[in-house]
Amino acid sequence: MKTLEQTTDELLGLAAQHFKIAREELGPGDDFYKKLKIDSLRALELITRLENHFGIELPDYEVQGVTDFRTLASRIQARL
């Protein structure tokens, strides 16, 4: 079982890779909408990427209102 820290780290790496941004620029507390300059359609791309990577289903209503990487990682963690 991954720890929340491991999941957060993988999430940050995937987000950086998908949106072509340096990994070092992203932190767990960052607002990913602002930091990645994305809207909800592009956030769904991230969710799809995360679902494929972690082998989980992440219903989008569970991430409604979630804006920071750490909380998103906790939603993933709850599905692992």
Binding site: Y33, I38, D39, S40, L41, A43, L44, E45, I47, T48, R49, E51, N52, E57, P59, D60, Y61, V63, Q64
Partner: protein
């Protein structure tokens, strides 16, 4: 079946098609993400007429998107809202009914075509875009594809034939989950649910669809068309009821409120339920 290019095809404002080696490829290229409004409807009607006239010359149809964001984000809600604002209640409903009747005729033509029809989808495949894919015989999905029926967020139901076709293709648990939660699902989930026939790697859905079309062309067209008619009956009575129900719901102030909220949402979240 001829193996040469027999039709020059056509390019319109929102889409283009060509017939090559027995396969018609219909490319959607209307920015930002192939929203289906009056312009695309007109072009789809042109395509539907061409499809019927090409029936002796082609054995398969592939529908795909050239837009990076995805296959289609669905109905053009901004156009619908803008047009509706200018009309009284009765005219609003009759206008939307006319639009639905026309889009149903196009999708029914694709659905009933004797050709083997394949939607090659990637990215956003929402609402009316999902409904277009469901009119096809097979859906080949890029692993980053995402499917959703968001209409209940607007106080509406899917109106382009999605409900009857969803009910035709998959179990009620999936139908209710998609419809009543408005959530989106990925390609792997859609494959498991039986909505999608194949999942391809990123960027590979069109290649996989072409390989599938080439395989379908090997078979006798009369036998293929007969198998399709048997396995994929057109749910005409339910399609008719869907239009009626959509118009009933559209007549309520809640539908205009829902559209207004979506159109006026300047935040980052309008596509999340």
């Amino acid at each position: 079946m001829t193996t040469s290019k027999v039709h020059p095809g056509e390019t319109t404002k929102t889409l283009s098609w060509e017939l090559k080696e027995g396969v018609i490829e219909l490319a959607l290229h209307h920015p930002p993400c192939n929203e289906i409004g009056s312009a695309m409807l007109e072009d789809l009607e042109r395509f539907a007429a061409a499809l019927e006239s090409a029936e002796g010359k082609a054995g398969a149809l592939i529908v795909y998107s050239q837009r990076e964001a995805g296959f289609s984000a669905g109905a053009d809600l901004r156009e619908l809202y803008g047009a509706s604002l200018k009309l009284g209640a009765a005219e609003r409903v009759s206008g939307v009914r006319e639009f639905l009747e026309r889009i149903h005729r196009v999708f029914n033509t694709i659905d009933a075509s004797p050709l083997t029809t394949i939607a090659a989808v990637h990215g956003v495949t929402f609402g009316g875009g999902f409904e277009l894919a469901l009119a096809c015989d097979l859906i080949v999905a890029d692993k980053m594809a995402r499917f959703c029926f968001p209409e209940l967020r607007l106080g509406l139901i899917p109106g382009f034939g999605g409900l009857p076709r969803l009910r035709r293709d998959v179990g009620n648990a999936v139908v209710r989950d998609l419809l009543l939660t408005g959530r989106s699902i990925n390609a792997a989930k859609a494959l498991a649910a039986g909505l999608v026939s194949q999942v391809a790697a990123e960027g590979e859905a069109l290649r996989a669809a072409r390989a599938t079309a080439a395989q379908a062309l090997k078979f006798d067209r009369t036998a293929s068309a007969a198998a399709k008619r048997f396995a994929k009956p057109i749910p005409r009575e339910e399609l008719r009821r869907e239009i009626d129900l959509f118009c009933e719901l559209f007549a309520r102030p809640a539908a205009m409120d829902g559209l207004r909220k979506f159109v006026e949402d300047t935040g980052a979240h309008p596509y999340l339920p």
